[in-house]
C-alpha cells in the first residue's frame, strides 16, 4: 500500500489542502486496516483426512485418525486438528450457561478430546514456523526455521476431488514422501510442514504406508471463519523439550500427567510397570 502525496510547487500547504490531506490519510489508513484485515483472512481452507499407524510392528493395528484443517492466509498458514478445535469451541459455548441470571460453568465432556492438540503456524515471509501444544500446565511453543523440501517432479497424474494432480517425491525429516499437488491451484502449501510445490498438496503419504493426508474438502469462498481456538499465553521452549514432552505424553500418559501436572493416577496392578504405548511421530529426524 502506498501513500501518494502529490508534491506541489508551493511547499506551504494551505488549510483546505491540510484538511484534504488529513482526510486522505484517514481514508487510506482505514483502507489499510481493512486491507490488512483482508490480508489476514482465510484465502483457502483445505480439510484433510489424516491417518497414522502408531504401532509400526503391526500393519494391521488400529490407526489414529483425525480431520486436519489447513487455513491458508496471505504469507502464512495455520495447520490444526479441525475436530479438536471444533470440540473445544462447542465445549466453551456449552460451558457458559445462564441459571437465574448467573453465568455458570457446566462441566461438560469435551468432544474429540483425544484428537491432535498440536497446531502449526508457518510464516512464509519470515521463513519460519511455530509449533504450539498444551501438554503441561501452561501451553508452550517452539520456533524453528522452515526448510523447504527438495521435491522431484514426476509425470504421473491422478484426479483427486475432480482436481488434476501431479506426483512429486522427496525425502524430508526422516521419511520418503509421495505427494500429489493440484496443477490448477497454485499455492505452495500443504499439510503439516510440507510445502514448496507449485500447487496445493492434495494427497501425501510416506512410502511405508504409515501415515497419509488426503484432501477431502476445499473451500475458497470462506464465508465463516472456521473454529480455531488458539492457546492463550504460551511459553516459548526449545524444540527438543517440546518433542520430549510430546513423546512422553503419547507413550505414557500417566507418567506425563505426574510430571507435567503433578497428578498421579493408578489403576490395575500398580506394582507392574506400565507398558509403553506405541508412538510414531511424522518427524523422525
Amino acid at each position: 500500500m502506498h501513500l501518494f502525496i502529490h508534491a506541489t510547487g508551493n511547499s506551504k500547504l494551505n488549510k483546505s489542502m491540510k484538511t484534504n490531506l488529513l482526510l486522505l490519510c484517514t481514508f487510506l489508513l482505514i483502507r489499510q486496516v481493512i486491507f490488512a484485515q483482508t490480508d489476514s483472512s482465510s484465502v483457502l481452507l483445505a480439510k484433510y483426512d489424516f491417518s497414522i499407524l502408531n504401532d509400526t510392528t503391526n500393519q494391521n493395528a488400529n490407526r489414529h485418525t483425525d480431520i486436519m484443517l489447513l487455513d491458508i492466509r496471505k504469507n502464512f498458514s495455520i495447520f490444526y486438528s479441525y475436530l479438536k478445535h471444533l470440540g473445544q469451541k462447542q465445549s466453551n459455548e456449552a460451558n457458559n450457561i445462564q441459571i437465574s441470571g448467573t453465568t455458570v460453568k457446566a462441566s461438560t465432556r469435551i468432544p474429540f478430546a483425544d484428537k491432535e492438540s498440536e497446531y502449526i503456524e508457518i510464516n512464509y515471509e519470515a521463513n519460519n514456523y511455530k509449533v504450539y501444544d498444551w501438554i503441561s500446565k501452561q501451553p508452550h511453543y517452539y520456533e524453528d526455521s522452515l526448510i523447504k523440501p527438495q521435491w522431484v517432479l514426476w509425470p504421473d497424474t491422478v484426479t483427486i476431488l475432480n482436481v488434476p494432480c501431479q506426483k512429486a517425491t522427496t525425502s524430508y525429516r526422516g521419511r520418503n514422501i509421495i505427494a500429489w499437488f493440484a496443477k490448477n491451484i497454485p499455492l505452495q502449501y500443504g499439510p503439516w510442514l510440507y510445502n514448496g510445490l507449485p500447487g496445493l498438496i492434495m494427497k501425501l503419504e510416506d512410502d511405508r504406508n504409515q501415515f497419509s493426508f488426503i484432501c477431502r474438502e476445499i473451500v475458497t469462498k470462506v464465508e465463516k471463519e472456521p473454529a480455531f481456538v488458539p492457546y492463550k499465553n504460551p511459553e516459548k521452549i526449545s524444540k527438543k523439550l517440546a518433542q520430549e514432552r510430546k513423546r512422553l505424553r503419547q507413550e505414557d500418559p500417566i507418567a506425563s500427567s505426574q510430571k507435567e501436572w503433578g497428578i498421579s493416577f493408578s489403576y490395575g496392578d500398580s506394582n507392574k510397570p506400565h507398558k509403553k504405548r506405541a508412538y510414531n511421530p511424522i518427524e523422525l529426524q
Partner: protein
C-alpha cells in the same frame, strides 16, 4: 599427427551420433513485480509441458522477486507465473525473446471456484465411507433403500446384504450392535435422512480381544447417524386404507439413539399381501463349509402339501391378515458392558389358493397327477433374546439366551381324484443359551464356550380320508388318519480353546465335548376306532438317541503382508447309542472322523485377491430321520427308514478371484466350487400314483456338485448409474433309487441376471432387472435314457419414477414373466402397478394401484431332480391403496 587423427575421428563420431553431444540446458532468470514495480516474493514459477500439461520444473521467487530456473528445452514449454491476489501469467518460452521482468496484475480472486464438500466415497484403511445424501434417491424413504444403491452391494429378497459376493456379518448403528442378525429392522425403519454416512468395514473383527490375532474376512456395516438424530425420540407412522376388498396397511415406529442407549420398536399390520415376518427373521451370514455345526435335529417332521414360495413378490398372491410387534433395546452399562433385549411377536392368518401339476420321471415310466389347494395357515411366532456382552481389548464375554415359540395351525383341502382334507398343528418350542468368555494375556488367548439347546416339537396331522390303506387298514378305505409326533432335542457343546501367536505364525487348539439327547415319538390312532387307540407298535416309533462326541481341533496359520495360509485338523470321536423303547432294542455305534481343511488367501494387490481351499467334512446327519416305524410326512408321503446311522462325507474344492475398487466403482468376482458328497444310505422311493413311500437302504452313493458364480458391477459415480451382471451355473449329479431301480439324475441350472439403475437426473430415475433362467434335468439308467426335462423362464422388472415437481412424483412398475418347457407348455404375464406421491413437510401421501391389468392367475414351474411341478397361483385382484406417512 596422432592427435590430429584422433580429433578427426572424434568430430566424425559427433556428426554421426549427435545425441552424444552434451544436451542443451537453458537457464531462465527473471524478476516478478506488480504494476508499480514492487517485487513479489513467493510467487510460483512453473515450466509446463504444452502436450501433457505436466509441470516439468518450478521455483519460487525470493524476497526481491528474482527467480532462476534450469530447463532442458524451450520446445513445447510454457512458463506459468502465479501468486495469491494476482492474475496468472502463462506464455510460451522463447530464447529469442527473453524477458527480464514479469509484471503481475492485481485481482480480487485468483483461484478456481473449487468448493467440494463431502466426497461420496472415501477410503480410510479398511473402512469405506459412503455419504448417504449422495446415494439417496428422491423415492427412497428408509436406509435399506439407500444401502441397495451402494456400489458393490446386493440385497436379496430376504434382505440379506452382500458386498462383492460376501454376506455382511455385523450391522452396527453408531458402533453398537442393537439388532444382531435381524438388521432388516434397521433397513425397513431407520429414515434415510438421519444417517450421515454408511461405513463398510472390511476385514472386520468384532471381538476386540482377537483384533491382533485374527483379522478375518468378515465385512460389517456401520451407520453413522447425524447429530440431529441423536438424543431424541424419533417416531413415524403410516396409515393405509384401500379397496378391494377392504384393505389396510398401518405401522407406527419409534426409535431413540443415545450414547449409552439405543431403542427401536414398532407395531405393523396389513392385509395387503406384505410379508411382515422378514423384518424380524434372522439374516445369517453364510457359515463356511467345515464350520457348520449340526447341533439341532430337524424339528419339523410333518407338513401339509401346499404351494411353495416362488419368485413372485408376496403382495401379489398372499391373502393375509398380519400383525407384527417388535421391541429392541440396548443399554450400555457403566463398566462398558452391554445389555440387549430383542423381542417380537408375529400373528398371521394367510390363505393360499392354487393348483399343481406334478410329473414324476421314473426309469420306465412317468407319473403325473393334479392337485388343487385351498389352505389357511394361522401362525403365532414369538421370540425373545437377551444378550449380555463385555467387549474389551483384553477380555470378551458374551451370553445369549433365546426363547422361541412357533404355533402354526394349517388347515385346508387338496383336491385330486377325490377331495382330501388335511390339517396340521405344530407347536415348536426352542430354548438355547450360548456363552463364551475370552481372555488375552501377552500373545496368548484362552477361550471357554458353552452352548445349551433344548427344543420340543409336538405335531399332529389329520388326513381325511385316510391314505395308505394297505399299511394302516388292510387295504380297506377309512375315514380319518391321525399322525402324532413329538421330537425333543437336548444338546450341549462345551469347549476350551487356546490361541498362541508368534510374529506371523498362529497356533490354535480347541478341545471340546458335544452331547446330544434326541427322543422321537410318533404314533397313529387306530383307523377303525374313534376313541383314539393307537395302532400296532410296528407302525409307531419311540426312539431315543444319545450321542457323546469329544473333539480336538488344531489349526495353524501363517500370515505375512495379508497373504495367509490356514491349515485346520479337527478330529472327533462319535459314540452314538440308539434305544428303541418299543422293542427294548439297543444299538451302539462308534466312529472316528478326521476333517482336514486348508485355505489360502493371496492378495495380489490391495484391490485384487485370490482364494483357494479344500474341506473334508464327515458327519452323522439327522439321526431323527432313522426310525423303524412309519412317519406320514404329508397325506401322500410315507417314510420308513430302518437302517444304520446316516453318515455323510463331503469333499469340497473351491477357488475364487475377487477385485474391488470402491473409489472407481468397479467390482467383480468369480467363484467356483466342486463338491463330492458321499452318503452311506440311499433312499428308495416307491410311487403308487400320487402316493409315495420311501425307505433307506445301506448303500454308499455319491452326489457331484459343480457351481460357478460370477458377478461384475460398475458404478459410474458422476452419472449415478449402476450396471451389474450376475451369472450362476450349476450341475448336480446324484444317484437315486426309484421304484427299486438305480438311476442317476443330472440337474443343470443357469441363471443370468442383468441389473441397471440410472439416478442421474433430478426428474427421473429408472431401475431394471432382467433374469433369464434355464433348468434341465437328465435321467439316466444303465440301459436306457429317459427324456430330458427342460424349463426356461424370463423375468423382467422395471421401475420408473418421475419427479414432476419437488413435492409431486409418480411411479410405474412393470413385472413381466415368461415360462416355457420342452413339453410345449408356455405362459406369460404382465403386471402393472402405478402410484402418485405428494410430499409436504413431514407429511407424505401416496396412492398406489396394484395389478392394474387385473391378472387372476400366475403359473410357474419348479424342477427338482426327477420331479417337475407346474404351479398356478390365484393372484390378488386389482386394488387401490391410499397411504399417509408422517413423523412426529
Amino acid at each position: 599427427m596422432k592427435l590430429f587423427s584422433k580429433l578427426i575421428v572424434f568430430i566424425t563420431v559427433l556428426f554421426l551420433f549427435p545425441k552424444l553431444l552434451p544436451a542443451q540446458i537453458f537457464k531462465l532468470t527473471g524478476r516478478i513485480t506488480d504494476s508499480s514495480g514492487q517485487a513479489i516474493a513467493n510467487a510460483s514459477i512453473s515450466i509446463i509441458n504444452k502436450t501433457s500439461l505436466n509441470v516439468v520444473a518450478y521455483t519460487i521467487s525470493n524476497k526481491t522477486g528474482n527467480f532462476s530456473i534450469i530447463i532442458d528445452s524451450v520446445d513445447k514449454r510454457r512458463i506459468s507465473i502465479s501468486c495469491i491476489g494476482y492474475k496468472k501469467i502463462e506464455e510460451n518460452i522463447s530464447t529469442a525473446a527473453h524477458k527480464d521482468t514479469y509484471i503481475l496484475e492485481k485481482i480480487l480472486t485468483l483461484l478456481p471456484n473449487v468448493t467440494i464438500i463431502n466426497k461420496p466415497i472415501s477410503i480410510q484403511g479398511d473402512t469405506i465411507n459412503y455419504t448417504t445424501s449422495f446415494f439417496t434417491n428422491s423415492q427412497d424413504r428408509v436406509i435399506g433403500d439407500v444401502i441397495a444403491n451402494l456400489p458393490g452391494i446386493e440385497i436379496d429378497a430376504n434382505g440379506r446384504i452382500t458386498y462383492n459376493g460376501n454376506p455382511i456379518s455385523h450391522y452396527y448403528i453408531d458402533g453398537l450392535d442393537l439388532l444382531g442378525t435381524k438388521y432388516n429392522i434397521a433397513n425397513n425403519n431407520i429414515p434415510a435422512d438421519i444417517v450421515e454416512k454408511i461405513q463398510l468395514l472390511n476385514r472386520h473383527q468384532p471381538i476386540k480381544a482377537l483384533d491382533s490375532f485374527a483379522k478375518g474376512n468378515e465385512i460389517a456395516i456401520n451407520l453413522k447417524l447425524k447429530a440431529k438424530a441423536k438424543n431424541r425420540l424419533i417416531s413415524k407412522a403410516k396409515l393405509g386404507l384401500g379397496i378391494a376388498p377392504l384393505l389396510w396397511d398401518n405401522e407406527v415406529t419409534t426409535m431413540n439413539f443415545r450414547k449409552n442407549l439405543q431403542l427401536i420398536g414398532a407395531y405393523k399390520n396389513n392385509n395387503a399381501g406384505n410379508y411382515l415376518y422378514t423384518e424380524v427373521d434372522e439374516v445369517a451370514a453364510a457359515v463356511p463349509l467345515g464350520e457348520q455345526i449340526n447341533e439341532a435335529a430337524d424339528s419339523k417332521l410333518l407338513n401339509l402339501v401346499n404351494l411353495p414360495g416362488i419368485n413372485l413378490t408376496t403382495k401379489r398372491y398372499r391373502f393375509n391378515n398380519s400383525h407384527l410387534l417388535h421391541f429392541n433395546i440396548l443399554y450400555q452399562l457403566k463398566n462398558k458392558a452391554q445389555l440387549k433385549l430383542n423381542t417380537s411377536e408375529y400373528i398371521d392368518k394367510t390363505q393360499k389358493e392354487g393348483k399343481n401339476e406334478t410329473y414324476i420321471y421314473l426309469p420306465a415310466d412317468t407319473i403325473s397327477f393334479n392337485e388343487t389347494y385351498k389352505t389357511v395357515v394361522s401362525e403365532k411366532k414369538f421370540k425373545t433374546e437377551l444378550n449380555y456382552t463385555i467387549n474389551k481389548e483384553k477380555y470378551y464375554l458374551n451370553n445369549k439366551l433365546v426363547y422361541k415359540n412357533n404355533y402354526i395351525f394349517e388347515d385346508g383341502s387338496v383336491h385330486t381324484s377325490q377331495n382330501n382334507l388335511q390339517s396340521l398343528v405344530s407347536n415348536l418350542n426352542d430354548l438355547n443359551n450360548d456363552f463364551i468368555v475370552t481372555k488375552v494375556k501377552n500373545k496368548n488367548v484362552i477361550s471357554i464356550s458353552s452352548k445349551l439347546i433344548y427344543s420340543s416339537a409336538p405335531q399332529e396331522l389329520d388326513v381325511q380320508p385316510g391314505s395308505f390303506a394297505d399299511v394302516f387298514n388292510g387295504r380297506m378305505g377309512f375315514q380319518l388318519l391321525t399322525q402324532k409326533t413329538r421330537l425333543k432335542n437336548f444338546l450341549t457343546n462345551t469347549a476350551i480353546k487356546f490361541i498362541r501367536k508368534k510374529k506371523n505364525f498362529q497356533y490354535e487348539s480347541k478341545l471340546g465335548i458335544k452331547t446330544a439327547g434326541i427322543h422321537l415319538q410318533s404314533f397313529f390312532t387306530e383307523p377303525s376306532n374313534s376313541s383314539g387307540q393307537l395302532t400296532a407298535d410296528s407302525l409307531n416309533n419311540n426312539i431315543a438317541w444319545s450321542t457323546l462326541n469329544p473333539y480336538l481341533q488344531t489349526a495353524f496359520s501363517i500370515e505375512k503382508n495379508r497373504k495367509k495360509i490356514e491349515l485346520s485338523l479337527p478330529t472327533e470321536i462319535n459314540i452314538t447309542i440308539k434305544k428303541n423303547l418299543l422293542t427294548a432294542g439297543k444299538t451302539s455305534y462308534t466312529n472316528t472322523f478326521f476333517n482336514p481343511r486348508i485355505n489360502i488367501n493371496i492378495p495380489v494387490s490391495p484391490l485384487f485377491e485370490i482364494q483357494a481351499g479344500f474341506t473334508k467334512q464327515t458327519d452323522i446327519k439327522s439321526v431323527s430321520e432313522i426310525y423303524s416305524g412309519y412317519i406320514l410326512n404329508n397325506y401322500r408321503t410315507l417314510k420308513q427308514n430302518n437302517s444304520i446311522l446316516p453318515i455323510e462325507k463331503l469333499y469340497n474344492f473351491k477357488g475364487s478371484v475377487a477385485y474391488q475398487n470402491p473409489a472407481k466403482g468397479v467390482f467383480f468376482y468369480f467363484t467356483t466350487s466342486y463338491t463330492i458328497l458321499q452318503k452311506n444310505l440311499l433312499i428308495n422311493t416307491l410311487y403308487n400314483g400320487s402316493l409315495t413311500k420311501s425307505s433307506a437302504i445301506e448303500k454308499w452313493n455319491t452326489q457331484y456338485n459343480l457351481v460357478f458364480t460370477s458377478y461384475i458391477n460398475k458404478y459410474l459415480l458422476s452419472a449415478k448409474t449402476s450396471i451389474s451382471v450376475i451369472y450362476v451355473g450349476s450341475k448336480i449329479r446324484s444317484e437315486l433309487l426309484l421304484q427299486n431301480e438305480e438311476t442317476q439324475v443330472t440337474l443343470f441350472s443357469q441363471n443370468l441376471k442383468l441389473k441397471a439403475a440410472i439416478n442421474r437426473f433430478s426428474w427421473f430415475t429408472f431401475e431394471n432387472t432382467l433374469s433369464l433362467n434355464k433348468t434341465k434335468s437328465n435321467l439316466f439308467q444303465t440301459q436306457q435314457n429317459t427324456p430330458v426335462v427342460k424349463n426356461f423362464n424370463v423375468q423382467n422388472n422395471s421401475r420408473f419414477y418421475f419427479f414432476l415437481t419437488k413435492k409431486i412424483s409418480t411411479s410405474l412398475n412393470t413385472d413381466y414373466f415368461y415360462f416355457s418347457d420342452n413339453q410345449n407348455k408356455h405362459s406369460s404375464y404382465l403386471f402393472f402397478d402405478a402410484g402418485i406421491r405428494y410430499k409436504y413437510n413431514r407429511w407424505d401421501t401416496e396412492i398406489s394401484i396394484t395389478n392394474i391389468t387385473n391378472n387372476k392367475m400366475y403359473s410357474t414351474a419348479l424342477l427338482k431332480k426327477n420331479i417337475n411341478q407346474m404351479y398356478s397361483y390365484t393372484i390378488r385382484p386389482a386394488n387401490v391403496l391410499l397411504k399417509l406417512y408422517f413423523s412426529f
